[in-house]
């Protein structure tokens, strides 16, 4: 990277060009509104990442992910709060650092995939928290139990056809009957997702 460090002379030249360009071109909106501009319907595509983490006593914890999921979202351009998102995770696709851990997670000790093959989240309201961020409130259903859940979403990369969100949220697992292993393993599941939406 060192060969890309501009010399004072080239930096000055660059600044000149930028200044010239800004004078010549029509100015862009003062604050680009990422969410409004990205209005539309999107399908959550398979390049997304749905990672989670459960802390354990003494440090460390279980890290895992879901490889199989489907979902979509709609960004309402005129009123972002009317935007919607639904996502379904297939817990059978859970990945962890250890095959035995995966089997344990799939078993009736945790997800009980035989009886409850899907975990769903449906938003009920979206609240803007900034130019590129929103809080998503909704209902998370797992093991046949539905509870309110909240996630924070931040716009990442986007272009005309696609938009990416980083979505994080902490969910208590005990209300879903998944409290096995507490207090060795935290009751809180920390989700860290990258949801890549492709325009429908």
């Amino acid at each position: 990277m060192s060969d890309h460090v501009p010399t004072p002379a080239s930096a000055g030249k660059l600044a000149g060009w930028v200044l010239a360009a800004s004078l010549l071109l029509p100015s862009a909106p003062a604050s680009a509104d990422a969410l409004s501009e990205a209005a539309g319907n999107y399908r959550i595509d398979s390049s997304s990442k749905i990672n989670f983490k459960v802390d354990q006593v003494g440090g460390g914890g279980i890290k895992g992910s879901f490889g199989s999921y489907s979902g979509s979202f709609r960004i309402d351009g005129s009123n972002v709060s009317k935007s919607k998102v639904t996502i379904t995770l297939f817990p059978k696709s859970v990945k962890a650092n250890q095959a035995r851990m995966e089997d344990f997670l799939r078993s009736d000790a945790v997800f009980d995939v035989a009886n409850h093959p899907e975990i769903t989240f449906r938003s009920t309201s979206v609240t803007r928290t900034g130019d590129d961020g929103a809080r998503i409130d909704g209902v998370l259903t797992a093991r046949g139990k539905s509870r309110k859940a909240q996630f924070e979403a931040t716009v990442g990369k986007r272009n005309g056809k696609a938009i990416s969100f980083r979505v994080t949220g902490s969910i208590y697992r005990s209300p879903y009957g998944m409290d096995v292993g507490t207090p060795i393993y935290s009751n809180v599941v920390q989700f860290d997702m990258t949801l890549n939406g492709t325009r429908k």
Partner: protein
């Protein structure tokens, strides 16, 4: 400070002996039973209790060892042959060492397991893993070692108990009685006679 003028092990050794005996034999039955449990969630909880009691045994057995080394033991009855003395002493020492070795092997099993489940004794104290490298092979090795040592020690304990009962009911000597709390708790004046008798 010789403690064994009287023909009793004394209340400290007696309390440790019977507490460890109860916990140790209980753990063997518990350890065997928890392996048969179908529910993985219940099994997880049971294994954590098994580990907690194992650490408790390890501490008590260590105290028992220190007490045995510091306080010694009453003289074996003069009626015992040399072979009987050596046999009794060997079994007693082997059992004492087993009450240390079995929990230690269990600790090694928890430490080498690739699941990396922390040891959180009685949900109170995080017990660090032993400095061993986790691997499937090491875990399998310590699982077998823990199991074989435990079952071996269990059988030896049955022999030890059978010998004590034989002394009490067949030979009618005081080998068992001096490991019972009654004599240790009796007022000192009563012991004087016993002491004199033993010194003959």
């Amino acid at each position: 400070m010789p403690r064994y003028h009287e023909n009793t092990y004394g209340i400290v050794a007696i309390a440790l002996h019977w507490t460890i005996a109860l916990l140790f034999l209980g753990q063997i039955v518990f350890g065997f039973s928890m392996e048969q449990v179908k529910s993985l969630a219940l099994q997880f909880e049971l294994i954590q209790w098994h580990k907690s009691f194992g650490f408790l045994i390890l501490i008590l057995a260590f105290l028992r060892l220190l007490w045995r080394l510091a306080a010694g033991r009453p003289q074996p009855p003069a009626t015992l042959s040399r072979v009987e003395r050596v046999a009794a002493e060997t079994v007693q020492w082997t059992l004492l060492i087993a009450t240390l070795a079995v929990p230690l092997a269990g600790w090694a099993l928890a430490s080498t397991s690739t699941l990396g489940i922390p040891s959180f004794a009685f949900n109170l104290v995080v017990v660090p893993h032993l400095p061993l490298t986790p691997s499937d092979e090491a875990e399998a090795f310590w699982r077998e070692t823990h199991k074989l040592l435990a079952y071996g020690a269990g059988m030896l304990a049955i022999g030890h108990a059978a010998a004590a009962l034989a002394h009490h009911f067949v030979l009618r000597d005081d080998v068992l009685v001096r490991m019972l709390p009654g004599r240790a708790a009796r007022p000192a004046t009563h012991r004087v006679t016993l002491e004199t008798n033993d010194d003959v």
